[in-house]
């Protein structure tokens, strides 16, 4: 189900804007003779309160898309929006504010500041912004993620799965409009992966958190509400209500 498919209701209720969208997004790398078009005019929307997976083969531009939409990288042309805010119009201070208030991140690795404890890492965005941490929410998150007994540990004293869960808690603590997760389970064993993905799933279902996750793992994509497929810098397909099998099926088709 996508926003465009929504049946019209009686009164003209203004549609809530998507959590993020890209309009004709182009990103090229390299100089004149060796130009690589990592994004070739991408148009895509990520709905609010949904879990969207972005898939595609290596070099399809899925990470570049995420970086451009999160304001970490500047697109060559086109527009990227978080909510109704066009991020291309923001200066560095504006982007910093955006990252503080409206976006959360989980990466494949190196999510945590090595010198800080897990608890300090989780509250870092709030500390940086000079905000008070919602203690109840904090306790709930660390409880749910099973890292309550790891809070005073440094990252090098935690397992990979615990580190990723702490990163999740940090992304969620500020209740951002949108969480970008870049291969969050890429370095994890299958058990830790499943726990992590289940938690992301629950946070969408229970707290209406919006999540965009880049992955190359079909089983991981199956936790999402919708899968967007990218190839050669373009959206080539999408799948609503995916299962591992249906995702694999699509990937095979794309790969051929």
């Amino acid at each position: 189900m996508t926003l465009t498919d929504q049946p019209p209701t009686g009164a003209p209720v203004p549609e809530p804007p998507p959590a993020a969208r890209a309009v004709d997004l182009v990103k090229t790398y390299g100089a004149h003779d060796a130009v690589v078009r990592a994004l070739d005019g991408v148009n895509v929307e990520f709905e609010r309160g949904r879990f969207t997976a972005v898939m595609g083969p290596s070099g399809s531009g899925k990470s570049t898309l995420m970086h451009c939409m999160a304001g970490l990288d500047t697109p060559t042309s086109g527009h990227a929006f978080i909510g109704e805010q066009e991020i291309g119009l923001l200066d560095d201070a504006g982007l910093t504010q955006l990252r503080r208030d409206r976006v959360g991140f989980v990466f494949q690795s190196f999510n945590l500041v090595p010198t800080l404890t897990a608890a300090e890492n989780i509250t870092l965005p709030a500390d940086l912004a000079g905000r008070k941490v919602d203690r109840e929410w904090f306790d709930y998150l660390v409880g749910q993620l099973g890292i309550a007994d790891r809070l005073s540990h440094r990252p090098n004293e935690m397992s990979g799965g615990q580190q990723q869960r702490a990163a999740c808690a940090r992304a969620l603590i500020g209740r951002p409009d949108l969480i970008f997760a870049d291969e969050p389970t890429g370095n994890l064993d299958s058990n830790s992966s499943s726990e992590m993905l289940a938690f992301l799933r629950r946070s969408v279902t229970e707290f209406h958190q919006s999540i965009v996750m880049v992955t190359h793992d079909a089983r991981g994509a199956a936790y999402a509400d919708r899968v967007v497929f990218l190839a050669d810098g373009n959206v080539v397909d999408e799948l609503v209500g995916p299962t591992a099998d249906s995702v694999l099926e699509r990937m095979k088709q794309l790969g051929s």
């Binding site: 500041v113 010198t115 870092l124």
Partner: protein, 845 residues
């Protein structure tokens, strides 16, 4: 964010400590100097305050010259006739008045050697029996009451085991005399006056042997209690002839304190200059360390940016790290500085300079200066790296991010060139003007500019320097060379501190070699005498005026000329006047005339000037210049000749007849003897003939030249010792960088070990890199320093540095030493690298 900074600091205690050492040493130097000079200042203020605390007024000759900047120990004054004392005593309100006399008097130790003080004067003075007036306190025996008695300072008495009743020989302006010690005295509460020896005589004797009979140097006055002091002062002033003044005791104490403080401030300025050099070099190592730290923390800083840190927060975090580091280092330095001051004080005592005991003065200014300078240097040095940290984009946190710095290096070359050129311009202007501050600023700018430009040549130079190492050591040497080449910027930054250190050392080496050569050649060019006799108490006090007469009577001595120095005013500015004997002048002194005549002009009482003075003052032979003497007042002199500049002769020269007519009992600075060659026999004859004067240093011309060179070398040794601190800081910088490099390359070193590199080879790889870094800095430093030294030495040509010498041998030794020091600096990092656990190193992220 503050927590991130703090935790980051605490997580790297070793790095913190190594970086802090540079600042700690510099601040120790500064605070030690300030504490010591403040303490000395307070001590002398108290000392003179006590000495004059009861003296209400002093009557003395007015300062002879308007310009009193030159000379040691204040204004030159004419003595007052003792008839004034009678007049003053009759003025109502005056309770007590007594004349005072001071002059030259040097004790002879029981072993027959003259007692020297290592620079402090040997003072003879009149003893006043009124304890209220006198600064001297009798601690045993009694004051001198007869012409054959002397009171000795407790310092000398203790050191040489003199007791009341002993007989002691005393060297005077006139022939030496023997006295009986009537008592032991202290100056106020101190055993002696800052290392000077004190010989106190009764007033009449003092007038005869120290001063001018019938005259006092000053008259000290006590008023009756309850009188209006200002009124008494006015009454005294009314009775005084012109040229004589009455001032308060407080004024005299203040003047004495001021003149001591001027000497102290010269001393403290010199020490502070070296402290700042150390801190400047320390600044380079801090800059380098922070650059590396920011580089290593790129991902972490980018991650902070991603989770919402603003640019300002990142900038601030780096600066706060520097601030905390600077604060801790400065506090440690401050504490060590107090210990250093205690150490220096002990050292001075070891040299025989006994200071009156007083508590250490720890002024708030010391704390403020130490903290401000220590923190300031650290924070300023971290600004560059902090700006680089700010430019790290958030995407840098992602594993595949690669940055490219081509543009910033172009900008650095432009800025570096501009700074270096401006520095050179400032140096040239500063040296020609001359303006010493401008020279300092210029040198700093040159060093900064060259530090910025060094990365350009770092790659090719490391390649060249490393080639022999690579050939010698095989793979480890080649890897060391590659490591030093792969980051030219870091190589240059790391070695820049050593560059500055060695540049300064080389500057001093060139300057010193030129000075030493000039000293030798100025003796050759100005002295034809075979023997040069000077006082053995270097720099302070002279010897008896009767030496020349005694020497002239020695068989084989064909000419004996006494050389005097004195202050006079010429064309309204203070200058030093040198006098030589006009009889048989050419046998003792060589005058190379540019114009006019030499000996005849001197004999005619005319003034000779050197060509530099002639040029700057626009004087020619026949010019008549206004002069002023303390004793005889205003007059004019005719310029009779112009001679080629020579450091020994000075700028103004007169005959001894003229000199003695205008100066009151001057002390000789040297006696020149002509013997027609110096053989062992003549040397024995001269020594025997002058055995009554144990305070003489009798040297042949060659010996004199050697001792002149030795003096230069002694000074150089001191400067080298002070600069060694800067070099030490530079080396600590290299240790620090290597440690950081080893840490950074853990994975790589693990890999090398895994494929079969031996521990020994790992060590030799790290050592090679260190040697290359050190040699790179040393070579650039020596080149820059030589250029600076040549510039300094040439600019002082008119001041007597006539020869320019580049001591190639010493400079090569410096480079070799730098290489060896580099080897030493590598030992710890190399050991650490060799000890890495192979498995853990490979597993490390």
């Amino acid at each position: 964010m503050g927590r991130v900074t703090l935790k980051g600091l605490l997580a790297h205690k070793l790095r913190l400590a190594l970086t802090a050492v540079a600042i700690v040493l510099g601040v120790t130097f500064i605070s030690g100097t300030l504490v010591l000079t403040d303490t000395l200042h307070a001590t002398f203020t108290t000392l003179f305050g006590h000495a004059y605390q009861n003296v209400d007024f002093e009557v003395r000759g007015k300062a002879a010259f308007t310009d009193n900047s030159g000379g040691g120990g204040g204004a030159v004054r004419k003595p007052v006739p003792d008839s004034i004392l009678t007049t003053v005593r009759q003025i109502p309100g005056v309770a007590y008045a007594a004349g005072t006399v001071t002059g030259y008097a040097q004790f002879v130790a029981p072993d027959g050697k003259a007692i020297t003080t290592g620079g402090a004067p040997t003072i003879g003075l009149s003893f006043d029996p009124n304890p209220e007036l006198s600064a001297l306190r009798v601690v045993s025996g009694h004051g001198p009451t007869a012409g054959n008695q002397v009171a000795m300072d407790a310092g000398t008495a203790t050191k040489y085991h003199f007791h009341v009743g002993d007989r002691v020989r005393v060297l005077l302006i006139g022939p030496p005399q023997t006295f009986t010690i009537s008592g032991i005295v202290t100056f106020g509460s101190a055993d002696n006056l800052a290392g000077a020896t004190l010989a106190a005589f009764d007033l009449g004797t003092a007038q005869q042997i120290l001063g001018t009979p019938g005259h006092f140097e000053a008259i000290d006055i006590l008023t009756r209690s309850g009188t209006d002091k200002a009124q008494v002062q006015r009454a005294i002033a009314r009775t005084l002839p012109s040229g004589v003044e009455v001032v308060t005791g407080q004024t005299v104490a203040d003047e004495a304190t001021t003149s001591i403080n001027q000497a102290l401030s010269f001393f403290s300025t010199a020490l502070l200059v070296f402290a700042f050099i150390s801190l400047f070099v320390g600044g380079f190592t801090i800059f380098n360390t922070f650059s590396i730290i920011v580089g290593q923390r790129t991902r972490e800083l980018a991650l902070l940016r991603i989770v919402g840190a603003s640019r300002r927060q990142v900038f601030r975090s780096v600066l706060i790290e520097a601030l905390l580091l600077g604060l801790v280092a400065s506090l440690v330095g401050l504490g060590l500085g107090v210990l250093a001051a205690l150490g220096l004080e002990a050292l001075l005592k070891g040299f025989g300079i006994t200071l009156p005991t007083g508590p250490l003065v720890f002024a708030s200014r010391t704390v403020i200066a130490a903290l401000a300078v220590g923190i300031g240097v650290t924070v300023m040095s971290a600004i560059g790296p902090a700006r680089r940290a700010v430019r790290i984009p958030p995407v840098a946190a992602l594993a595949d991010y690669r940055s490219d710095q081509a543009e910033s290096s172009r900008r650095r070359i432009v800025i570096g060139s501009v700074v270096a050129v401006m520095g050179i311009a400032a140096l040239i202007v500063g040296l020609t003007r001359p303006a010493i501050q401008l020279v300092g600023i210029g040198a700093v700018a040159v060093f900064l500019g060259i530090g910025m430009l060094a990365p350009v040549v770092a790659r090719p130079m490391s390649s060249v320097i490393g080639r022999p190492l690579a050939r010698l050591l095989g793979i480890p040497g080649r890897l060391g060379r590659e490591n030093s080449m792969r980051s030219p910027r870091r190589t240059a930054q790391t070695s820049s501190a050593l560059m500055v250190g060695l540049a300064l050392v080389s500057t001093i080496a060139v300057f010193g070699a030129s000075l030493s050569k000039s000293a030798t050649s100025s003796v050759d060019e100005a002295v034809s005498a075979d023997y040069i006799i000077t006082g053995s108490n270097a720099g302070a006090g002279g010897f008896s005026a009767s030496v020349a007469a005694a020497a002239a009577g020695i068989p084989g001595v064909s000419a004996a000329s006494t050389v005097y120095n004195g202050e006079f005013e010429v064309q309204r500015s203070l200058a030093t006047l040198t006098a030589v004997s006009t009889r048989r002048l050419s046998e003792t002194v060589i005058l190379r005339m540019d114009a006019g005549t030499g000996a005849p002009a001197l004999a005619a009482g005319q003034l000779l000037i050197d060509s530099t003075t002639a040029t700057t003052k626009h004087l020619v032979v026949g010019s008549v210049v206004p002069v002023k003497f303390a004793q005889t007042g205003v007059s004019t002199m005719r310029v009779g000749g112009i001679f080629k500049p020579n450091a020994l002769l000075g700028s103004y020269l007169v005959g001894d007849g003229f000199f003695l007519a205008h100066f009151d009992r001057p002390l000789p600075v040297a006696v020149l003897l002509h013997t027609g060659g110096s053989t062992g026999a003549t040397t024995r004859a001269v020594n025997a003939g002058l055995s009554a004067y144990p305070n003489l240093k009798i040297q042949t011309r060659t010996e004199f030249q050697k001792s002149q060179q030795a003096q230069v070398n002694q000074l150089l040794g001191l400067v080298y010792a002070l600069l060694a601190l800067a070099v030490l800081i530079a080396l600590i910088g290299i240790v620090n960088t290597l440690m950081l490099s080893v840490f950074e390359r853990t994975h790589e070193i693990g890999l090398l070990r895994a494929v079969g590199m031996k521990r020994r080879q790992v060590r030799s790889m790290i050592r090679s890199e260190s040697v290359i870094l050190s040699l790179f800095g040393a070579v650039i430093g020596v080149v820059v320093g030589t250029a600076l030294g040549v510039a300094f030495a040439s600019s002082l040509k008119q001041q007597g540095i006539t020869d320019l010498v580049v001591p190639v041998g010493s400079l090569v030794v410096f480079v070799v030493l730098a290489g060896l020091l580099g080897l030493a600096a590598a030992s710890w990092p190399a050991r650490r690298a060799a000890r890495l656990d192979v498995l853990a190193a490979i597993a490390a992220d």
